[in-house]
Symmetry: C2
Subunit: 324 residues, 2 copies
């Protein structure tokens, strides 16, 4: 056999990652999640699939980190501090020990980076593509989770980081564009696709400030649409304010079509949120090295509008990624 | 398109299943798991994959129920009462709305049967087989979870239900045997493969009585092996005491080879546990309509031994299902 049994695999690679007492060293069928007095336990789950969310040749440590981070992104957008996770791994026959060792290293590094620990999981065989489903747990002080439905008329709309970099990286990997891009810019964009950088530390700083928040995974306009729907408001975004990285500006340019593409590409794993305009200074203070950009405002009405410099609405055909 | 978008799918089929306040009607990216004072929160996760754990043509409601029940089985074996679950669904293109509607009906029926509710999840597309991963949450009074490692010298060993029925049903579905079996017995065994019947109510009755427990998913001998390893003991099982259903006895017979097959086939989703012999009457009282059979004893030593009528060890080549 090209790799050991499930039990050996768990003992060798994954048990060392399960340091919480409630994980029982992965020697039981269940785990106990420790309660934290005065805090709500928040849970989220997201899977990534080979050939859909990552490429077959992607570095295994990066696949592990991406699977974790798309979940940590959801926790951050709710103001939660990450604590622990479960791992469901479906492995095709061809996956060998070196791949799995590097994958486990990716988990270990991100555990240290984000202060989280493996609680348990399930490893099995699949005739299909490799898939990694993570269920992540975090804590927020009781009643302080930042919901989607709290945006208020007059609030400003903000977003962290830059948008579209992951979409640009994916386009490069698909060979769609960028043959003349410098190696450095090319590497930056591809890295943003492969390895999300969710603002895990900044999310909790938004508690008590943000009125509503969402992580940008399906695309800025689609995800702000969820906030608008849940809050019963209209969100107006000024196209010219949408933050675009220098690398993406070189790849796609800065015209309206490009900005629209960046605002609908998805896989950004940044936080879009609403907050009173008066809290802008306080937000900047909590941001440390996270870039936060004010991009719009909350109005009465429904849906999301993308506005040009003259305040006219730009027609948007496709607001974000459709899962199928 | 043959089916609606992920968002419509969630709103139409899954949101009605998410009745707990912490599920936010599936309108947020996360859920809050309500704490229960004085109880530990127990979590487990298991996935089932088309072509591995169920067949493509299996009724969708049954696939949903099987995905849930393999997890409820883990909770029951730990003495936990089930409370809620997350659903990760990876859908190939061909899955249509009637399939999904029947799948959701299967979830709804089992929610009512077991008193559980949907908390959240993730639905995505896959180029591979359909897979359903469930993460289930349950409660046990603080510190009362039944662990694997608590078996004590002199304890008796028990198992619920009958063993090997699921393995027999799988053999029938593969056309390996049973061409001359009556339709009724055939249907019974196939149903045991498709629809596990874990003793969800009986599990909690074992708290304070069982010293160690495990759910029988990989096969009786393999799973008792985990208990023996974790407890630092040897477990001796009398082959003649292993409970075999009348249907399986007709299909496979009652000789040693058949009993061994039943004790290693896996997918039983019954509970194997150890307890003082003196608690046998109390166990029977808590069992209601769950069959509980005493099958062996805990001794000093290591591993699991299967004994014949003369007390001699029967050679076992393969103790249970290997995941890969």
């Amino acid at each position: 056999m090209s790799r050991p049994s499930e039990f050996d695999l768990i003992a060798r690679l994954f048990a060392p990652l399960a340091t919480a007492p409630g994980a029982f060293g992965l020697k039981d069928d269940v785990a106990i999640i420790a309660a934290r007095a005065g805090f709500d336990l928040v849970v989220t789950t997201d899977a990534i699939v080979e050939g859909v969310d990552f490429f077959s040749g992607d570095p295994p440590a990066g696949v592990a980190a991406k699977a974790l981070r798309v979940n940590l992104s959801d926790l951050a957008a709710k103001g939660a501090e990450p604590a622990a996770y479960l791992l469901n791994l479906a492995l095709p026959r061809g996956v060998d020990m070196p791949w799995l060792e590097d994958f486990a290293r990716g988990l270990r590094d991100d555990q240290a980076r984000f202060g989280i620990t493996l609680l348990g999981g399930d490893t099995g065989s699949t005739p299909g593509p490799l898939s990694v489903a993570i269920t992540a747990f975090g804590h927020v002080p009781q009643g302080q989770m930042i919901i989607r439905g709290g945006a208020r008329l007059g609030d400003a709309v903000f977003v962290t980081g830059t948008l579209g970099d992951s979409g640009g990286g994916l386009a490069l990997l698909k060979g769609e564009a960028g043959a003349d891009l410098s190696a450095g810019l090319r590497a930056f964009l591809i890295d943003r696709y492969r390895l999300p950088q969710p603002p895990v530390l900044f999310g909790p700083a938004l508690r008590g400030i943000a009125t509503a928040a969402v992580d940008v995974s399906d695309g800025l306009l689609a995800d702000l649409g969820h906030v608008a729907d849940a809050s019963g408001v209209r969100i107006a975004v000024e196209a010219a304010r949408i933050p675009i990285s220098p690398a993406l500006a070189v790849l796609w340019g800065r015209d309206t079509v490009s900005i629209l593409r960046a605002a609908t590409a998805g896989d950004d794993y940044q936080i879009a949120f609403t907050a009173p305009l008066s809290s802008e200074a306080e937000i900047a203070k909590g941001a440390h090295d996270t870039i936060v950009t004010r991009i719009g405002r909350v109005e009465s009405g429904v849906g999301v509008a993308l506005l040009d410099a003259a305040g006219h609405e730009i027609a948007v055909a496709r607001r974000g990624f459709r899962h199928f």
